[in-house]
């Protein structure tokens, strides 16, 4: 099947800055695809390459099998939800939503009806007469979504759309976006620096770092089997064990990752491995107690379920974890 979006060795350099550096990607149709990475990792530039605001310095991009290089944004069947929403301040909400239909020459009555429908879909019916300045951040976000979706794009690009919202609203919008994507069956490409957002919403995640894609996979794969130290660090705070520590556990690997929640207190049983460490600090985080330990000079973080005893600082304890939870990584 032709992928919705295809990147072949795509680079975008700004002078000496390699914003995007040799990226290969394939996003399937109907997929919720997250581009995850810290700021400056190239994820937004990749999104802009799809939208057509940037042209690749080298490499090849296809949108539904058609070459995208040299195609201006207004000839691409993709729409963007901007980070700052980019609502037109001089137009009413209805005219904002109907903008894409208006420039395509749709009649006034018809486009108003479609825009009203789109507003109802994002739970803002009857808001059409207001100006963007009269809406809250969350409402503006919904208008931006309606304005993009009313054009029935084949791919919807979302550039950190939830970044400016407070936590509660963000969680609500995450669910709504996910539901919307499933009902419409659209391809969503979602840029975020929030790993929990990417993991909870996406079908697949690409982790960006310094202009390169470090790993692509399902949230589960990314979380359980990070390929590099960066991915292990960035996607949840994994413990990274050094080569020496690995050897101590009878493992010949340059490095290995171990999730804090995989670690238990107590002597290892069959199929388990063990570590000895001295607790340094502990903090209570509601459902878990987070304990930092010193294991032969390396810091290991363990998330212990609330209710289980918390080891006292300074008293050496034994830690146990399942053999398969220790994940070997490519580089140190």
């Amino acid at each position: 099947m032709t992928p919705a979006i295809l990147f072949q060795n795509v680079s975008r350099h700004f002078g000496s800055v390699r914003a995007v550096d040799g990226v290969d990607l394939a996003v399937a149709e109907g997929e919720f695809f997250a581009m995850l990475g810290p700021s400056g990792s190239g994820k937004t530039t990749c999104l802009r390459l799809v939208a057509g605001f940037e042209q690749p310095t080298s490499g090849h991009i296809e949108i539904f099998g058609e070459t995208a290089e040299g195609v201006p944004p207004y000839r691409r069947n993709v729409n963007t939800v901007f980070q700052d929403y980019a609502l037109f301040p001089h137009l009413s909400i209805l005219d904002n939503v109907a903008y894409g239909l208006m420039v395509r020459g749709m009649g006034r009555g018809e486009r108003r009806r479609e825009a009203e429908e789109a507003l109802a879909m994002v739970a803002l019916p009857g808001y059409g007469a207001r100006k963007p300045g009269q809406l809250s951040g969350g409402q503006r976000q919904r208008v931006a979504l309606a304005r993009a979706l009313v054009n029935r794009p084949r791919v919807l690009l979302l550039d950190e759309p939830l970044g400016a919202l407070d936590l509660k609203l963000r969680e609500q919008m995450q669910e709504e976006l996910k539901t919307l994507q499933k009902t419409l069956g659209l391809t969503f490409i979602f840029v975020t620096h929030d790993q929990s957002e990417a993991l909870s919403m996406a079908d697949r995640v690409a982790v960006f770092h310094e202009g390169k894609v470090r790993q692509v996979g399902t949230p589960e794969e990314i979380y359980r089997r990070p390929k590099t130290r960066f991915v292990a660090d960035f996607v949840g705070s994994s413990n990274v064990l050094s080569r020496a520590q690995c050897q101590r556990l009878g493992l010949d690997a340059p490095a290995a990752s171990l999730r804090p929640e995989s670690i238990l207190l107590g002597t290892p049983t069959d199929g388990q491995l063990g570590l000895t460490g001295t607790p340094i600090a502990a903090s209570f985080l509601g459902p878990i107690n987070r304990v930092t330990l010193d294991c032969a000079g390396e810091r290991i973080v363990a998330s212990l379920p609330a209710g289980t005893p918390v080891p006292a600082a300074g008293e050496p304890v034994t830690l146990a974890f399942n053999r398969q939870d220790l994940h070997v990584m490519e580089e140190a």
Binding site: A51, G52, F53, P72, P73, Y74, V78, N79, T80, F82, Q83, D84, A86, L87, F88, P89, H90, Y99, G100, M102, V103, R104, R147, A148, N151
Partner: protein, 318 residues
């Protein structure tokens, strides 16, 4: 106690300075502060500007006695009848047409410059832009106009340039056009127009640039993203958002052209503009009421223009 050793850097209730006490008083009485802030500008605007304007307008309700040549201090509309006599109405029409064409030309020339400065120029180029726009304002207005007289004269550099480019026929046929043509550019309306545009252009560029500067780049991208061709983006996004700047700039170019009396006197035909008429009426002719009536014309025109601009929604984006 351990706390005793800790020296606080917190502000004291009174620092003893009288200036400090004054700021405390102003902080407690914000209205007093506002009054102090505004008293000087209000005095200036109210008394010096609006006051003298009012006195001037009252003058226009008097009329000059045709026999004695003295002003009769009795309210009458005779001066206004005189204002709309054929000769004087010609002056008004000529000035308004000139101001309108100067304004239109300024918008057309200023917009691309302002657009470049707002969207593309960065760092050094931004500084070059500001210098380039402001530099002409640093030199004397009169010097510039006399320089233009030399440039536009029959023996001037422009004629020379046209000759060198073998385009003199073009210049000649332009000058052969009635009304806007003439013996040479420096004695034609075309010349007056060119100098007006040159002198007022910065007043059009800067407000448009300021308006465009506030248009976030993502709005232009969003427009393209939603399928708008560049022409449509200009029509539906850039132009409406730049309109307050264009209106502000056109207020400058329009009213400055309406009131100027030096440029048409040095460059152009001998036919009068409003500014020259005011100058002549209050000076040599001694007809202060008519001069006052003439000054009312730009005020009425500008008020009507602003009202129309408001009706068209020029200030909605503010």
């Amino acid at each position: 106690m351990a706390m005793a050793a800790h020296q606080t850097h917190a502000p004291t209730t009174s620092d003893g300075h009288s200036l400090g006490r004054l700021s405390d008083v102003l902080w407690r009485h914000p209205k007093l502060f506002l009054a102090l802030l505004l008293c000087l500008p209000l005095l200036w605007l109210g008394v010096v500007y609006l006051g003298s304007l009012a006195i001037f307008l009252v003058q226009s309700l008097f009329a000059i006695d045709d026999f004695s040549g003295l002003v009769t201090y009795e309210p009458t509309l005779a001066t206004y009848r005189q204002l709309f006599s054929d000769a004087n109405f010609d002056i008004i029409l000529r000035t308004v047409l000139m101001a309108a064409s100067v304004t239109l030309a300024s918008i057309v020339i200023a917009f691309p410059i302002a657009y470049y400065a707002a969207r593309y120029a960065q760092g050094v180029w931004k500084a070059v832009f500001y210098l380039g726009v402001m530099l002409p304002l640093w030199s004397s207005y009169l010097v510039k106009i006399y320089a233009w007289k030399l440039i536009l004269a029959k023996e001037g550099i422009l004629t020379w340039l046209f000759t060198k480019l073998h385009l003199l026929w073009l210049l000649d046929s332009w000058l052969a056009i009635p009304v806007i043509g003439g013996n040479s550019l420096s004695v034609s309306y075309t010349g007056t127009f060119m100098v007006f545009v040159y002198v007022w252009l910065p007043f059009m560029i800067l407000p448009i640039q300021a308006a465009l500067e506030r248009v976030s780049g993502s709005l232009v991208e969003a427009s393209a993203d939603l399928g708008a061709h560049p022409r449509q983006t200009f029509r539906h996004v850039l132009l409406p958002l730049a309109l307050p700047g264009i209106v502000a700039g056109s207020i400058f170019t329009f009213s400055l052209t309406l009131g100027d009396y030096i440029i048409p006197q040095i460059i152009g035909s001998s036919r009068l503009f409003i500014g020259q008429a005011v100058y002549a009426q209050q000076g040599t002719a001694g007809n202060l009421p008519l001069a006052a009536a003439f000054t009312l014309v730009p005020i009425v025109i500008m008020s009507a223009y602003l009202w129309a601009a408001r009706r068209m929604g020029a200030f909605d984006a503010l």
